[in-house]
């Protein structure tokens, strides 16, 4: 990565109107964000067949939240950029409840309410101080403490992030441990520069084994395994994104909510001809 946005400036200023729109209309970003959100959700290991109440930390324009909605969960999203939240609300019609807040100042939710938290490419922002009043170490600790408090017993929190260096991921992990979490880093495809993804998996209540990382030893095989695992339980009926049945299911969901939905025709789900 040549330029890291968190080095450039505070998130509420970096993600202005233009940058927020750019982020959400870039199909490459959208795809990667959704994939990482899927994986984070899988790492949460939620009980099957019941809708959970999840938290999306640094939810941005609601790309990861959409994955949560598709899996029939309710979610609350917190972000510091009002423009990102505006895109989430207006353009993406996010189903989550959105809160405009700096996560470094804590999570404003009653104790024990949240069944799991995910965070996609957000936590590294807390490692940067944007004024001399901000202490990254203290802000991280305060954030993790308030997160710990609002999680239900046994709930997990999974953070996908891009650490700038080893010291940064150490700083984050250390503060999480101090706040009472168990867990550690799960690194998927560690030997691939492109596919490598880092997830901090935090667990409450007792020491448990970390979930296994995906490896690139045999990338195609592990991808199949992922799909296999996802196909258990209520997810077996899930459709491939973009397919006609997927679109029909989504339309049906929106219709049930009373939204204005275009009728399904023979053109639904077809590729546009040029």
């Amino acid at each position: 990565m040549s330029s890291r946005p968190e080095v450039v400036g505070p998130p509420e200023l970096f993600y202005d109107e233009t940058e927020s729109k750019k982020y959400t209309t870039n199909s490459h970003i959208v795809q990667i964000q959704s994939e990482m959100a899927e994986r984070a959700l899988e790492l949460l290991a939620l009980p099957e067949d019941q809708p959970s109440i999840l938290l999306d930390v640094g939810c941005g324009s609601g790309l990861s939240g959409e994955v949560l909605t598709e899996n029939e969960h309710h979610w609350i999203g917190i972000d510091i950029s009002r423009h990102m939240l505006k895109v989430a609300k207006e353009d993406n019609e996010s189903d989550g409840d959105l809160i405009l807040k700096d996560i470094g100042t804590g999570i404003p939710i009653r104790p024990g309410v949240i069944d799991g938290a995910i965070s996609i490419s957000a936590i590294q922002w807390l490692c940067h101080a944007n004024s001399n009043k901000e202490n990254p170490r203290k802000r991280l600790l305060f954030f993790f403490q308030s997160l710990y408090a609002c999680l239900a017993r046994g709930a997990r929190a999974v953070f996908q992030f891009y650490p700038q260096n080893a010291a940064q991921s150490e700083l984050i992990t250390e503060q999480a441990t101090k706040a009472g979490f168990n867990g550690g880093l799960v690194v998927d495809f560690p030997n691939s520069t492109k596919a490598k993804k880092i997830y901090l998996v935090l667990m409450t209540g007792g020491i448990q084994n970390l979930p296994k990382a995906l490896t690139d030893e045999n990338e195609s095989r592990s991808r199949v395994e992922v799909i296999d695992r996802r196909n258990h339980g209520n997810m077996s009926s899930r459709n491939l994104k973009g397919s006609r049945s997927y679109i029909e299911a989504k339309k049906e969901r929106l219709r049930r909510k009373g939204r204005d939905v275009k009728p399904t025709t023979k053109y639904t789900g077809r590729k546009r001809r040029h």
Binding site: I80, K86, K89, D102, P108, I109, R110, P111, G112, K257
Partner: protein, 112 residues
């Protein structure tokens, strides 16, 4: 800032209701998580939840009418424009376009 008891008093200028399908399992899981009397109090301050009792009825688990009303209150009422007030500190949080603003600094509250 007390993290636990926000969302107590709500004042509003504009609210919206959407229709949501009743989900028995979900609402039963929500009941132990909410501070019921506070929720009802907050709901009444915006003219909602008038068919709900002020205290949680002892038979709530089997009282379908109650569960339906509660589900509707939880899921379908949305404040578009208004404010949240913390009863402890008296601090107010503006809600604009359905998003409560809980940024820490007062000078960040103004519209951009």
């Amino acid at each position: 800032m007390g993290n636990s008891n926000l969302k107590e008093f709500v004042d509003f200028n504009h609210k919206k209701k959407k229709s949501v399908e009743f989900n028995d399992v979900f609402v039963k899981r929500m009941v132990p998580k909410i501070d019921y009397p506070v929720l009802v109090q907050a709901a009444k301050s915006v003219g909602e939840g008038n068919d709900l009792p002020t205290e949680l009825p002892p038979d709530w688990e089997n009282n379908e009418e109650f569960l339906k009303n509660l589900h509707e209150l939880l899921m379908s009422v949305e404040i578009i424009d208004g404010e949240l007030e913390c009863p402890e500190s008296g601090r107010k949080f503006m809600i604009r376009e359905g998003i409560p603003n809980m940024l820490a600094n007062e000078d960040e509250v103004e519209e951009s």
